[in-house]
Amino acid sequence: MPAMPAIMKTTAARLSALYLILFAICAVVLVIYVTSLSVRMITAQTQEAIAEEVSGLGRAYQRGGLPTLVRAMEMRARQPGANLYLITDPNGLILSGNVESIQPGVLDTVGWTDRPFAYRRYGEDSGENSRHTAVAQVIRLPNRMILLVGRDLGEPERFRNVVRNALMAALGMMGFGALLIWFFVGRRALKRIDNVSAASRQIMGGDLSRRLPVSGAGDEFDRLSENLNAMLDRISALNEGLKQVSANIAHDLKTPLTRLRNRAEAALNRREDEAACREALEQTIAESDQLIRTFNAILMISRLEAGYSAETTKTVDLSAIVADVVELYEPAAEEMGVELKAEAEVAVRIDGNRELIGQALSNIVDNAIKYSAGGANESPAVSVTLQKHAGAVRLTVRDNGPGIPEADRERATERFVRLEASRTQPGSGLGLSLAKAVMTFHGGRLELSGDGEGLSVAMVFPAGKNG
C-alpha cells in the first residue's frame, strides 16, 4: 500500500472506515426501501382517489349525459387543490377542464397513464414553476370524446425530497460519528500502543528497570502489559543474577587465578631450587582445586536457580540424610573439639533430591562446626534437629559460635558474601548461597536466626505428600 497515510495504517481507522461504509450502504438501502414503499402507497392512494372521481363523474354522465358531466367536472375543478379534469374531442382539442396544455401523447393512452406526464393548468404563468407532473386515467366516452381525470404529483415529489435530504443528513451524521469514534477509541488505542512501543524501545535501549504503562482499566491492553511486565521482571532478575555472577567471578576467581599465575611464575624463576618448585606446584594444585570447587558451586547455584528437571526429585528420607551427614561430620567435629549431636524425628519423608539436600546440610554443618570451634565458647557444640510441624518440616542446625549480627543475616546467604568476621576462614563463601538455592529449588526457604550467642540455620521444607 504505497503512500498510505499513517492514520489509515491503524486498525482502529480501518475498522471505522469499514463500519462507516457498511452503515452507509444499509442506510441507503433502507431509505430506498422506505421511499419506494411510501411512493407506492401514495400512488395507490392517488389512483384510488382518481378512480373515485371517475366513478362519480361516470354517475353524473349516466344521469344527464355530457352537459351534467361537464357541469359536475367544472364544479369540482374550481375547488382549491383540485384534481385535473379535461374533456377533449376525439382529435385532442380541449373542450373543457382546468388544464391548459398537456404533454402530447398522453391522450392516446387508454386507462392509467403508465408514467407521470407534464401539464399546465389554466391561469398559471408559463414559468418553470408552472410545470407539473401528474398521473391520470384516460377514458373514451361513448361519443368518442376523451375524459381525463388526474392528480398532481407535487406531494410525492416533495416527500421524496424530504427523504433525500434526510438521507444526506444521516450520512453526514454517520461520517461525523465515525470520525468521533475513531478519535476517541482509535486514537486512544493508537496512543496506548504508541506508549507501549515507546516504552519497549527504551527497554531495548538498555533501561531494563522501565515497565510498560498499565492504565488500570483492566482491559486487554492492561493484561498484555502486565504479562509483558512480569516477563520483564523475570528477565531482569535473571540478568541481575548474571551480572552479579560475572562481577563475583571477576572478583573471586580472578584473585586466586592471579595468585596461581604469580606462584607459577616465581617457581619458574627459581628453577634451581627443586624443593621450592615442588612446593609451589603443590600449592598451585591445591589452589586450582579450590578454584574448581568455587566454580562448581557457582554452576550448581545457577542451574538450581534456572530450575532443575523435575525428574531429579523423589521421596527421600530426611531423617536418614540427617543421620548420614551427622555421622560423616562427627569425627571431624570431635577432632576440632566440637560436640555434634542430632535430634531427629524418624522417617520424615519429603519430595526432594537426596544429593542436593545432603550437600546443603553438609555445607551448613561444616560452617557451624568451623565457626563454633573458632568462637569464644569454651564448650563449642553444634546440634542438628529435625522436626515436623503442621505443614512444614524444619531441619535446624544450631551452633554456639559468634553468630551473625541481625543486620548481616540477609546478606549472609548472598553469593560470595563472607562476612568480615569470617574472612580468615577457608571456604568459597558459597556454602549458604548454595543451601539457599537448594531450599528455593525444593519450594522451601532458609531461615537464619540466633538468640544471644550462636547462629541457627533452619532449612524449612514444605511437608511432602507423606508428611
Binding site: 594444585i285 554452576l299 531429579t312 571431624a332 570431635e334 577432632e335 544429593e355 553438609s362 561444616d366
Partner: protein, 224 residues
C-alpha cells in the same frame, strides 16, 4: 592395562596418554565418536575412557551401543556436565563410573584401576585378607593377627571397601561415593578424619602400618 581414550581435546588426550604410560599402562587415543566406536568394537581394551561431548557421535550413544552388542568392557565417562541428573543419565546409559571435568589425573587413574578389577572375583569372596588383617563380610568380624577389632558399621563399610580394593589407590571422592553414597565434594577433611579413626583401630598396637596415605591422591590398603 590397555586403555582406549575417546577424547577430542588433543592436548588433554596427549597428556592422558603420557600419564597413563608413566603409570605403566598403554592408551590409544580416538579423536572423535565414530573412530572411537570403531576402535572400541575391536574388543582389545581393558577400560574405556569416554568423553561425553564428542564430534560426530556422543559418548553416551557409543556406550549404549557397545552394551547392546554385548561388550561389557568397563567404561568411565568424562564430562563437563557434573550435575546430579547428568550423572544419572550417564550411568543409566551403561557407564560404570562418571568423572566431572576438571579432574585430577590421580583421581582418573585410581578410578580406572578400580574399574579394571571391578569385574574380579572379590564380590563373591566372603573373607577379605590383607597381610594379617582379615574381614569377614558375613559375620562382620574384623581381626588382625587373630585379635578381634570392634568397628562401627560405617567403619566396617569403609574398611570393606578399602580391602576390596587392596593395593589400589582409593580417592576421597571414591570413598564418599561408595561408602556414603553421596557425590558432592566435602569441603573439609571429613574423610581424612574417618580414615585416621579407622587407622587408629586397625594399626594401634601393631608394628606394621597397612593403611597408607598416597600423597596427592588418596589412600591404599596394602601389606608391605
Amino acid at each position: 592395562m590397555k586403555i582406549l581414550v575417546i577424547e577430542d581435546d588433543r592436548e588433554a588426550a596427549g597428556f592422558m596418554k603420557k600419564a597413563f604410560a608413566e603409570a605403566g599402562h598403554t592408551a590409544d587415543i580416538a579423536p572423535d565418536g565414530e573412530s572411537g566406536f570403531a576402535l572400541a568394537e575391536t574388543g582389545s581394551y581393558d577400560v574405556f575412557v569416554i568423553d561425553r561431548m564428542l564430534p560426530r557421535r556422543d559418548g553416551l550413544s557409543i556406550i549404549a551401543e557397545l552394551r547392546s552388542k554385548g561388550n561389557a568392557t568397563p567404561a568411565l565417562i568424562l564430562s563437563a556436565l557434573g550435575e546430579v541428573d547428568d550423572r544419572v543419565t550417564g550411568l543409566r546409559a551403561g557407564g560404570d563410573d562418571y568423572l566431572t571435568k576438571p579432574y585430577a589425573f590421580s583421581e582418573l587413574l585410581a578410578r580406572i584401576e578400580v574399574l579394571k578389577r571391578r569385574a574380579g572375583a572379590k564380590d563373591i569372596e566372603t573373607v577379605y585378607r590383607v597381610g594379617d588383617l582379615e574381614l569377614d563380610r558375613l559375620s562382620h568380624a574384623v581381626r588382625r593377627g587373630g585379635q578381634e577389632i570392634t568397628l562401627q558399621p560405617r567403619e566396617f563399610r569403609l574398611l570393606e571397601y578399602l580391602m576390596r580394593h587392596a593395593g589400589q589407590v582409593v580417592t576421597r571422592t571414591m570413598l564418599l561415593e561408595n561408602v556414603w553414597d553421596y557425590h558432592f565434594d566435602p569441603q573439609t577433611n571429613v574423610i581424612d578424619v574417618h580414615i585416621s579413626r579407622l587407622r587408629g583401630k586397625i594399626e594401634r598396637g601393631f608394628d606394621k602400618p597397612v593403611l597408607h596415605t598416597v600423597r596427592g591422591a588418596g589412600y591404599m590398603l596394602r601389606a608391605d
